[in-house]
Amino acid sequence: MSEAKPTLYEQLGGEAAVNAAVDIFYRKVLSDFRINRFFDNSDIEKQAAKQKAFLTMAFGGPNNYTGTDMRTAHARFVKMGLNDSHFDAVMEHLSGTLRELKVPEELVAQVAAIAESTRSDVLGK
């Protein structure tokens, strides 16, 4: 058997890394006055599960991401005024989280690129 090059998900540390990241990432998001109004009234455990699914996807891990789901899920927030500035804030927290976890810059960039690819779906463009 030939040794395959480790995937991005494996290089980041798989599920354990996602768990560590969710805890930091979601705390940053909820503490940020620019964006936390979009998270009012939601059950934090259900939310954290969604954040975990999102981070797993951004980490290049197993997912069943579909742009349509992302659009539907965010449509009501777009009506509430969700725009590029909010998306940027989330991206900032994502990179901040990875740096806090001492993830090498080249991997941070790869994760950011995957997350960035959801922008038009999230913002309903």
Binding site: E15, D23, R27, L30, A48, A49, G61, P62, N63
Partner: protein
């Protein structure tokens, strides 16, 4: 060649060597939820009723789930035959007899029942109590695990509540009532006994918390244990003397009763229990948190406890939803 038998809803599926429980069930066309198939999404979580799940298949699950033999079907290469269920099925009832009824305050009754069979439960879990005509409501067990046959409940009388009115007015000592298998994930496990614990309850949310505290103290929990019990007014609180006595007996137990309306007497804090607690304990990093009672309080405080530093895996909660048919 080792194959194992997996029984789901009384139908047996053979799980071949090298196959996961999920693979086998899907190959046979069984209708089970799943998504990532790699242990990330947890949508294929099931519970084993017989046969221990493998350690690998419980990776990433909350400890209370592991203890109850929940596992991820997509990660489980079974090491023995298993009987599994998709979710917890609470169809098992045991008979019990009412042994005492004592009023704790104007609206809350301490109901004690003696079960025919010993119940295997964790302090903080709830059961469904069922009247002979089938009317059923969920109530938290208010005592620790030592009394396996005797269970206590705090039954708050709700205006127009069919079940609670019946318990208060018509159920007599010596009468029978059915009790379901214990359920719920808001309970105390005696691991990590140095961990500090914060417990916040409103109204009869004190019931599971009192059980958890009793259990933790009996098990020799060494971390600090802070209880905040809140109600709108003084007459909604109860067990003040009992909790104060407990505080005198255990150095690591701290009790703060709270009322959110009007003035409070000495020794009682003014404000909502969750606000009082969060202001007093701004740093919850490493703490274990239990929240029981009003759904809005539970929901908001979960977020606040997390923002104050508690890990989501360390937050256990039980929101008391009022059965809508109570209001009919």
């Amino acid at each position: 060649m080792t194959s194992r038998h997996i029984t789901l809803d009384e139908q047996v599926t053979v799980c071949h060597e090298g196959e996961t429980v999920l693979d086998a069930l899907l190959r046979e066309g069984r209708d089970v939820p799943y998504s990532c198939r790699q242990g990330a999404c947890q949508s294929c979580m099931m519970r084993s009723l017989e046969g221990m799940p493998t350690e690998d298949s419980q990776k990433g699950l909350k400890n209370v789930l592991c203890k109850q033999n929940y596992f991820l079907a997509c990660l489980c290469f079974p090491s023995q035959d298993m009987v599994v269920a998709l979710s917890h099925q609470a169809d098992f009832f045991t008979e019990a007899t009412v042994v005492s009824k004592v009023l704790l305050n104007q609206e809350t009754l301490l109901l004690t029942i003696q079960c025919k069979d010993a119940l295997d439960y964790y302090a903080g879990q709830f059961v469904n109590l069922k009247r002979s005509d089938g009317l059923m409501r969920s109530y938290s067990i208010a005592n620790s695990k030592v009394h396996t046959h005797k269970l206590t409940f705090h039954i708050r009388r709700l205006a127009g509540g069919r079940f609670s009115e019946w318990v208060h007015q018509e159920l007599n000592i010596g009468d029978n009532i059915s009790v379901s298998d214990p359920q719920g994930l808001c309970f105390y496990l005696p691991d990590n006994q140095e961990q500090n614990m914060l417990l916040i309850g409103t109204g009869s949310g004190l019931a599971p918390l009192a059980g958890i505290i009793e259990e933790a103290l009996e098990q020799g929990h060494t971390g600090q244990i802070h209880l905040y019990h809140g109600s709108r007014e003084m007459d909604g609180l109860y067990w003040l003397d009992e909790m104060q006595a407990l505080q005198q007996n255990y150095e690591n137990f701290h009790y703060t009763p709270c009322v959110s309306r009007g003035d409070s007497p000495e020794g009682v804090a003014t404000g909502r229990a969750n606000d009082v607690a969060m202001a007093a304990l701004p740093d919850l990093k490493g703490w274990r948190v239990f929240l029981c009672g009003h759904p809005d309080m539970v929901n908001q405080t979960k977020t606040q406890a997390y923002l104050n530093g508690a890990s989501l895996k360390d937050i256990y909660s039980d929101a008391f939803h009022v059965a809508s048919s109570s209001l009919e």
